[in-house]
Amino acid sequence: MNDLRKRYLGEIAGAADEAALERLRVAALGKKGEVSLRMRELGGMTPEERQVAGPALNALKGEINAAIAAKRTALEDEALDARLKEEWLDVTMPARQRPHGRIHPVSQVTEEVTAVLADMGFSVAEGPQIESDWYNFDALNMPDHHPARTEMDTFYMAQAAEDDRPPHVLRTHTSPVQIRALQDCGAPLRIICPGRVYRADYDQTHTPMFHQVEGLAIDRDISMANLKWVLEEFFSAFFGTTVKTRFRASHFPFTEPSAEVDIQCSWKGGTVKVGEGDGWLEVLGSGMVHPKVLEAGGIDPSEWQGFAFGIGIDRLAMLKYGIPDLRAFFDSDLRWLRHYGFAPLDVPTLHGGLQ
């Protein structure tokens, strides 16, 4: 028996491949294998003999099986190693292309602004870009002769000869949406109105189309101090750093009192940094909604009051992301879009951050 064991274990260890292993298994453990034949002989033995030979044979069978299994694994490992060596690949070759589209800064910043102000209870209202003279001017306390009208560089729509209405305009600001929202929703009301606006002006810092977001909060006891809080909270969340504001008296036909708002900033090496230093940068106009504007919106000014503000979205984007030229916003230069654009899944949220 020992001979048998020694021989088979030796041959298994030396088997060259799977086929040799199989042959050895059949020779030892197959129906007519040496070990099997020996086991068949057990029947003819005395009980005493059998008691010795039986377990020994069984042990031998188990040992051979285990040796074959171990060898098989070893052979497989070798074969795999050999295959892996052959599968050498230059992994520095270029990857397969994946799409990389970008979100325009105007959209991104609009969503950022919305995320902050939605948390303060403002919803998003929209309105038409071709606007009637009444909504764009009269309802905002700018009657026909008002000097502010001429200062707005308004685009007018062509008009049919028989049309005796004042010509429609391309809205010069998002403020007409205030009126529409007041008419539709009444008070109390908190809305922002982002969107395109138009002024007939084109130079280094002006484009005939740009983007504004209007804010409006109407309630029974909202004051300019609330406006200052909302704006400081907004700017701090938007820029990701505490931003102080400075209010300066000003005038807009649709607010009374009115204020220009500056944000704190520094000017180092030709770049503006918001939220530090002792400089001030004018960024928006605001004020308490003029009683006539409330009336135009169908709201009783003796019962309701509130604030409104308007800020440039493109301007916010330029400030926050250091984008130098407004005109490039509308040029669709792929290099610009890739550089200043945002990844598709970079959705601004308050909990995830706006930076």
Binding site: P94, R96, Q97, P99, H100, G101, I103, V106, S107, E111, T114, A118, M120, G121, S123, V124, G127, Q129, I130, Y135, H145, T150, F155, M157, A158, Q159, A160, P167, H168, L170, R196, Y198, A200, D201, P208, I222, S223, M224, A225, N226, K228, W229, F247, R248, A249, S250, H251, E256, P257, A259, P291, F330, S332, D333, L334, R335, L337, A343, P344, L345
Partner: protein, 798 residues
């Protein structure tokens, strides 16, 4: 509005420095746009004394001077004839920039002799045109800064100029006096009252004035008088300097006087040459068509209703806007008629706008000057004319009456807290308003005549708050409108816009924001370009039409990028397109285009030209992101800017078009300079129906443990049979078993012959109750072949 500090100090006693004045102006709503301080660029010039001046050994006209300066005795070569011993001069040391010659002085050698600086003339420091010699100062000590000497001895030369922006409500700040009043009310000094004494006339005015009855609303009051025997020479230096400092050209004493009062007291005046006026002056409405050559040498035609000041000959002035040339004053003028009138702001605004005249007079009258100052303004001007030009004044002639502007509003001190959020004691509120000229009577505040903008309680609050300074405003938290977690605020359409935008970017498109107005030709290519959508006053021929589609902007962007060398492009835009010229005639779309190849060349061989099926995949992905249902239909017959047979609409039933996709029409691309083919999609975001189920619960998931079976079929068909018909027919063979039908191969022509194609489909059978037997599978197969054959004429490929 420009003024100088010295001019301001004629009306305000103050010790405040320029910077402080500027800061306060901005804070109270008179925003400073620019401060020009002439002293800034003369800071480095100092006084010196010439100790010795000798002829240059090698040049007859030059002198070698020893000059005592703050840096010791310096040798300076000078060519001025007056350079001589003992005079006090202005020295620019080496390193000093001299603005008049745009040069920084350096140590140099002139004909063999070193020169360490320069002695300057007035012109070299841009103080005047004087260049006959170097400055000789009558006083001053060596080393003193020249600007300090100027400030003490000739302050107008270093008088800082401030320019402020005027908001439409603050016409009163269009006069230096009004600015001073504001600053005094803030506590920055004391106003200097300049009472105006009436000038008694010595004779009856030979020219009288009348206002037509139908014109009295446009010209409520007109005053004037003749001054005879004037000499209209140049005005005195002080007046010329005042005007020059704010950018006005001195013309003659009479004209300068009117300009002075325009800026000093916001009181525009006009002076007629009385000898050129025929008869009396009459203010009347134009019938339309009358013409006048105005002072700007342009001829204007009046429209009906505009106001004219006329004499017997005809129009002599565009009332309140600009005088006429014929009766204008000249150097020879000896008798004048001085006009001071109050014009209705609305009428002036209309006239000025229609005639496109931007004059100082229009600018002020349309904002509303102080009607009460009409006569005082005339008296003040008379005094100055008599003083500067001599002559003799007539009695005043007038017509109409100063309009009554008295009104009062309740001053509720609590309103300031409620509206602004600042607590200002009632007493202080009253003091502020009184300083601004309001008359307080009990709890009523009456605005002064120069503040037509004050029209209600809120305006009183504004005055009080801006004087108290809004910089003192403390932020106050605004409570949430409702307690707890904020509700979602986006509308379904807004969510759709965001989701589809981000999906398009995820698919590889870059978002563009293109102008809403495009050129005529491009608009016409996309169904626009009509009169209703035309911008009446475009700033460029590229921006004349409100876009009927997003494609022109995107395709033009593609062309621009191609020109820059980028050929593989995927661009999209979300935004409004305009179906007409009325406010409600717009719609929000998302559209994308792909041009060129799928990407740059790569070793994986994946680069290929983009095609219609890219566009379709993108359209379907974006539609899905926008929440459109999965089951949609296709229809041919998309709009004319699509390739006629390589495009389709995606519809929901016969009525709703959700989207279009395909190849853009090559003719359109050619006209827009786009090279190669372009494919794209456009989705009507508002056409996507809102989800029917309101709750968030999904329907229960039904999956079978039984294995699905797939079988392939290939049909030979006419080449123009559409795959969808094959798919639909196959799917209809057994709706309960067939889960999916997929086209996986197409083969056209070849051995099949001309006009034939083979289409291969995979049909997936999903048993629900028990495993399918071969017989069952064969039966379904047979049914599929029959259905397809019946619907399309296709036969199973052998």
């Amino acid at each position: 509005m420009k003024f100088t500090i010295a001019w301001l100090k004629e009306h305000l006693e103050t010790t405040a420095a320029v910077d402080e004045i500027a800061e306060v102006l901005t804070d109270i709503g008179l925003e400073v746009e620019e401060i020009v301080n002439p002293a800034d660029r003369l800071r480095d010039f100092t006084l010196g004394r010439v100790l010795k001046a000798e002829k240059h050994p090698d040049a007859d006209r030059l002198r070698v001077c020893e000059v005592e300066t703050d840096r010791g005795v310096r040798q300076i070569i000078c060519g001025a004839p007056n350079a001589r011993e003992g005079i006090t001069v202005v020295v620019a040391h080496a390193g000093t920039y001299v603005p008049g010659i745009d040069t920084t002085i350096q140590v140099g050698t002139i004909r063999g002799v070193e020169s360490h600086g320069m002695m300057c003339s007035e012109r070299e420091m841009e103080l005047s045109d004087e260049h006959d010699g170097i400055i000789e100062l009558p006083s001053g000590t060596v080393g003193e800064r020249f600007i300090d000497w100027l400030a003490a001895n000739d302050p107008s030369k270093v008088d800082p100029v401030i320019e402020i922006a005027i908001t439409p409500n603050r016409q009163d700040a269009l006069g230096v006096e009004g600015i001073a009043r504001d600053l005094a009310a803030r506590g920055l000094g004391t106003r200097i009252e300049r009472p105006i004494a009436p000038v008694p006339g010595t004779f009856a005015s030979p020219i009288s004035i009348s206002i037509d009855k139908d014109t009295i609303d446009g010209n409520p009051y007109f005053a004037g008088r003749v001054i005879r025997g004037v000499r209209n020479g140049p005005s005195p230096a002080w007046l010329q300097q005042r005007l020059q400092a704010i950018g006005l050209r001195p013309i003659s004493a009479l004209v300068d006087i009117t300009n002075f009062f325009t800026y000093d007291r916001n009181r525009p005046l006009h002076v007629f040459d009385a000898d050129k006026v025929n008869g009396n002056l009459r203010v009347h409405r134009a019938e339309g068509g009358e013409q006048i050559l105005a002072l700007d040498q342009k001829t204007y035609a009046f429209e009906s209703g505009m106001m004219i000041i006329a004499d017997e000959r005809g129009p002599e002035s565009i009332a309140g806007v600009m005088g006429g040339d014929r009766t204008g004053v000249t150097g020879e003028t000896v008798n004048v008629f001085v006009e001071s009138a109050y014009w209705d702001p609305v009428t002036i605004a209309h006239t000025g706008r229609k005639l496109k005249i931007n004059s100082d007079a229009r600018y002020r009258f349309e904002r509303g000057v102080d009607p009460e100052f009409t006569l005082p303004g005339l008296e003040a001007a008379t005094s100055m004319v008599l003083e500067l030009c001599g002559g003799e004044a007539s009695h005043v002639v007038e017509d109409g009456a100063v309009p009554d502007t008295t009104r009062a509003y309740r001053l509720d001190p609590a309103r300031c807290s409620s509206l602004v959020g600042m607590d200002i004691p009632a007493k202080d509120q009253r003091t502020t308003l009184e300083a601004l000229g309001f008359a307080i009577d009990g709890d009523m505040a009456a605005p002064p005549s120069w503040r037509p903008d004050v029209r209600g309680e809120a305006d009183l609050v504004e005055e009080v708050a801006r004087m108290a300074s809004l910089t003192n405003l403390e932020p106050k938290p605004m409570p949430r409108a409702a307690p707890g977690v904020p509700k979602p605020i986006l509308t379904p359409l807004q969510r759709r816009e965001q989701a589809s935008r981000r999906m398009a970017a995820a698919l590889g498109y870059s978002e563009c924001v293109t102008y809403s107005f495009i050129d005529d030709a491009s608009a016409a290519l996309f169904g626009g370009g009509d009169e209703a959508r035309r911008v009446a006053n475009p700033i460029s021929s590229e921006m004349t039409q409100m876009r009927p589609s997003l494609f022109p902007g995107l395709l033009q962007a593609a062309a621009r990028n191609q020109a820059r060398g980028f050929t593989d492009l995927a661009l999209f835009e979300v935004g409004a397109v305009f179906h007409g010229g009325e406010p409600e005639e717009f719609e929000i779309l998302i559209a994308g285009i792909r041009v060129g190849a799928t990407g740059p060349k790569d070793p994986h061989g994946e680069r290929r030209d983009v095609d219609v099926f890219d566009a379709r995949a993108d359209a379907e992905a974006v539609l899905a992101a926008a929440g459109a249902p999965a089951r949609t239909q296709f229809a041919r017959g998309a709009n004319s800017w699509w390739h006629p047979v390589r495009s389709a609409k995606i519809t929901l039933g016969p009525k709703i078009t959700l989207a279009a996709f395909g190849e853009l029409h090559p003719g359109v691309l050619r006209r827009l300079d786009v090279k190669g083919r372009a494919v794209g999609f456009a989705i009507h975001l508002s056409a996507v129906p809102e989800p029917r189920a309101k709750g968030s619960t999904r329907t229960a998931l039904q999956i079978s443990d039984l294995q699905a079976v797939e079988r392939d079929f290939a049909f030979v068909l006419d080449a123009n049979v559409e795959a969808i018909n094959v798919v639909n027919a196959a799917a209809g063979a057994n709706r309960s078993l067939i889960e999916e039908v997929r086209v996986f191969d197409e083969f056209v022509g070849g051995s099949l012959g001309e006009g034939k194609k083979s289409l291969a489909i995979t049909v997936r059978l999903q048993p629900r109750e028990r495993t399918l037997t071969d017989e069952q599978i064969d039966a379904v197969g047979k049914a599929i072949v029959e259905k397809v054959s019946k619907a399309t004429g296709g036969v199973l490929r052998a």
